[in-house]
């Protein structure tokens, strides 16, 4: 892309319409974003369907699926306890969707001319996921505890004098949760992709630019291999952190403090 001149790392995040579709003033075109959301759906469905044959002696694929479900199941059991069983499907969907979309965006398919689009690098996607988690926490909290849910803002054993101060701080930290949840995933993805784009452009421009350029290009090439490995780790960690924090917030709503 940036063989010469200015490097444009933001270009990869543009949402381009594939099938333009307008209803009244609303633009509901089928975009690259929708396409890669569908790809994620197909991948997840295929992964799960191949592993849900319920064989008594599990094959390799079933072990892989059971590994992922067992991982989430354990996490919910440790953090919420037996009451959390009802929320395992939601946490699991969240985890596997984020993980698969993150990994799809990293696929080196550009070699054969397909440009993967990272759906989780847009706040419109991660923000919706975060608001979904937050609303579930609110609904579960008010449904289980009614107005007693507000005692979440006053930890046990707070001196009377401190209550207004502590309650306002707790309230702010509670209301910031959906933003921090969505922002973390979206910025982590965007930062990694910009880094890879910038150093990828360094390789191309370096190899076009004489002896010193070759040195820069070779160094960038070595660096980008490390960054790609780090990005794989970040993909998994971000999916795990999102699922873990949702579990902890649910734990607040179910068990209070």
């Amino acid at each position: 892309m940036a063989a010469e001149g200015k490097i444009d790392p933001m270009h990869q995040f543009t949402v381009e319409p594939l099938v333009p579709l307008h209803i009244g003033p609303y633009d509901i075109s089928f975009t690259t974003s929708s396409l890669w959301l569908l790809v994620a759906l197909v991948v997840i469905y295929g992964f799960m369907a191949l592993g849900m044959k319920r064989q008594l002696v599990p094959g390799r694929w079933q072990v892989a699926v059971e590994g992922v479900t067992g991982f989430i199941d354990d996490m919910v059991k440790v953090n919420i306890g037996p009451k959390g069983k009802a929320y395992v499907p939601y946490i699991f969907s969240l985890f596997i969707f984020i993980l698969v979309s993150n990994l799809l965006g990293l696929l080196p398919l550009a070699v054969i001319g397909i440009h993967p689009f990272t759906t989780t690098s847009h706040f419109s996607i991660t923000g919706v996921l975060a608001v979904l988690s937050f609303s579930i926490v609110l609904i579960v909290g008010f449904w289980r505890h009614g107005l007693h849910f507000f005692s979440l803002f006053v930890p046990h054993g707070t001196p009377k004098v401190m209550i207004p101060l502590i309650a306002s701080i707790e309230f702010i930290s509670f209301m910031v949760r959906p933003f921090s949840l969505g922002l973390r995933l979206f910025v982590a993805m965007i930062a990694g992709h910009i880094l890879m784009e910038v150093f990828g452009s360094f390789i191309v421009s370096g190899f076009n630019g004489g002896a010193v350029g070759w040195g820069v290009g070779a160094l960038s090439f070595a660096f980008i291999i490390g960054v790609a490995a780090l990005e794989l780790l970040v993909c998994a960690i971000q999916a795990y952190v999102f699922a873990l924090l949702t579990t902890l917030y649910l734990n607040d709503a179910i068990n209070l403090h």
């Binding site: 933001m10 996490m75 440790v78 953090n79 921090s180 922002l183 973390r184 910025v187 982590a188 965007i190 930062a191 960690i237 795990y240 952190v241 873990l244 924090l245 902890l248």
Partner: protein, 75 residues
């Protein structure tokens, strides 16, 4: 100083926060490893807390990055 150069300098200054977050994340994992080696039996049960600390430290660095981007692409 014209607007464009001020913008680039501002974005560069905002990026210092990312380095500060690197110190924080290193501290989280370093302290965890230090205590995990002293008491390996208790290490596994604390992994959830490790990632909560990591997430909190990392978020602040990512916010610094977001601020840098907002400054860089302002207007």
């Amino acid at each position: 100083m014209d607007f464009a150069s001020a913008q680039v300098i501002g974005a560069g200054l905002a990026a210092i926060g990312v380095g500060a977050a690197a110190v924080g994340v290193g501290n989280v994992f370093g302290s965890f490893l230090e205590s995990a080696l002293r008491n390996p039996a208790a290490a596994d049960s604390q992994q959830g807390r490790l990632f909560i600390g990591f997430a909190a430290a990392e978020l602040l660095g990512l916010i610094a990055f977001a601020v840098a981007m907002i400054i860089l692409y302002a207007r």
